[in-house]
Symmetry: C2
């Protein structure tokens, strides 16, 4: 294990939890944030917050630190411009939930940075510094992008940070990651929004009070199926709109299956194919949750790493 | 309040909980069940289980009891035939989640019964006698059908049973109930099934292991959005297929909204309309949960009762 210093840019739920977890793991950590009030809160909690992003990046350049982009995708280009200006060859990763668009942004705005994409899959309904915790990543899966040509040294830096934070590492190609999260995270957000709007009769007018009766009766299945529609819309939009090609494929799959269910209900009245496929999907998920935890040889190449993630295996350290 | 005796036919989660709650409220309660093992378990717990449905119905006829149909829709016609043969003019209600198909079945198989539809909106992921409890209906909404021509005396019987079980009464026309539950219960089950199948890559083949990576990464939003896909498929099918016309309308609404989201994502890349409508729907639901609880005059007619439910109001007793 190295004890490479960590420079966290952005102190929201994820960046803030990462700073806490890295400090708890004994790393040297400093941060920067665009929010004065967040900076004050983090300093009051004893964290080292630089006066500006540029000053944090100068320190990263000097210390050969791993820089973490801890902001939503729309804020990334502005920060990457500062990375390119101040620390153009720094070790760089991120916590954004889309990996192809991130890779494209780095190629465009900070092309010489030693970038390896990351996505710690943890969160709560809350956001902001105050919602963070040292243990947010405990047992979570942390995807580390393993495309061909990836800088193996920085890949190891990111994996070791994930392990230090208590997470398990899942190697995946950027495209495979995006296709997977489109189906298990972004599509659920869209379907939750559609369901909540249908149930509430949003923008439909219709019978007086028709939505009021439905809302009064809504409970278990509605409550669970729409829970993520409570998420702040701007966060959902940043995730979903940033993963457009993969999300389109997932939406088309959902439209096809829902259309088939509609056709079957209208013609024979039967929904068994749809309902049984869903039941099987849940069973597959429960099986997948008991994925084998592996230690991996340090010199495994990117193709070998990707293959492990593709088969649902998770890494917990070096062999 | 009357202390009208209660005859429960079927001792699954709902019927079994109803028998327990009615006994706890001081009612005289007897039951019948098609399952020998359930009958044995209920008797062992101290409940009065008749040797057969016919014998339970003879007692109901003699005591002018309120008979409750506590089985899923597909099992209803067979029991209604016994009602018509043994206790043709009995006071009759049910706990089935669709009200138009139930009304049609009663008109067909037990046309002289004094039937008033009911739907206690409570449940757990479990099923069967052992999963039941005295408190299952505490604070739950119990829809009591208030169509024109409804027998007011039996309507009061059902409302009083609901109140005795700790529930709140929501009066609604059968059609309005079915339209509402299609949107807040049956559509959520269909969307959960579609989501689980898309995420698992069910019946698609595709890339080797593509589903395995997605299943490994699936967590919060997938878990919540698909939770009800764990329900036993035959129960989901009984609910959804029994509410075909209303469910078709709800599915078409969902297809229209999801298709519009798809079009917008493909053209401008924007999902704000979809995501914001979903966020508003959740807010409307939270507001509706604090519905005013009313006491109602005993002589309120069916149109007046329906109007209360249509405006999201719940009844907790007589004025």
């Amino acid at each position: 294990m190295t004890s490479r210093p960590i420079c966290v840019l952005g102190l929201g739920l994820i960046g803030g939890s990462l700073a806490r977890a890295a400090v708890a793991a004994g790393r040297t950590v400093w941060a920067a944030t665009a929010s004065e009030s967040t900076a004050a809160a983090a300093r009051a909690d004893g964290y080292d917050v630089a006066p500006s992003t540029d000053e944090a990046l100068v320190r990263a350049q000097d210390a050969d630190a791993l820089v973490i982009l801890g902001m939503p995708l729309p804020a990334v280009p502005g920060v990457l411009r500062r990375v390119h200006a101040v620390a153009p060859r720094c070790r760089l990763t991120d916590v954004v939930s889309v990996k192809v668009a991130m890779r494209d942004a780095v190629e465009k705005y900070a092309p010489t940075a030693r970038y390896v994409g990351g996505h710690p899959m943890a969160g709560t309904a809350e956001s902001g510094w105050a919602a963070g915790s040292t243990t947010l990543f405990g047992g979570a899966n942390w995807v580390v992008a393993a495309d061909d040509g990836t800088d193996a040294e920085v890949w190891a830096d990111v994996a070791e940070l994930a392990w230090d934070c208590g997470a398990r590492v899942v190697p995946a190609a950027a495209e495979e990651h995006d296709a997977a999260v489109a189906r298990i995270s972004h599509l659920p957000h869209l379907l939750a929004a559609v369901l909540a709007a249908v149930a509430a009769g949003d923008e439909r007018g219709g019978e007086p009070g028709a939505g009021a009766l439905a809302m009064l009766l809504a409970a278990g299945s509605f409550a669970d199926g729409t829970r993520v529609a409570d998420t702040r819309p701007e966060l959902v939009l940043a995730m979903c709109e940033g993963n457009r090609p993969a999300l389109l494929t997932a939406v088309d799959d959902a439209l096809g299956r829902l259309g088939a269910a509609r056709g079957s209900l209208a013609s024979t009245g039967g929904l068994a194919a749809t309902v049984n496929a869903g039941h099987r999907g849940r069973q597959q998920w429960r099986t997948a949750r008991s994925a084998p935890e592996l230690k991996v040889a340090r010199d495994t190449d990117m193709a070998g790493l990707r293959e492990l993630g593709r088969h649902g295996q998770v890494l917990v350290g070096w062999e």
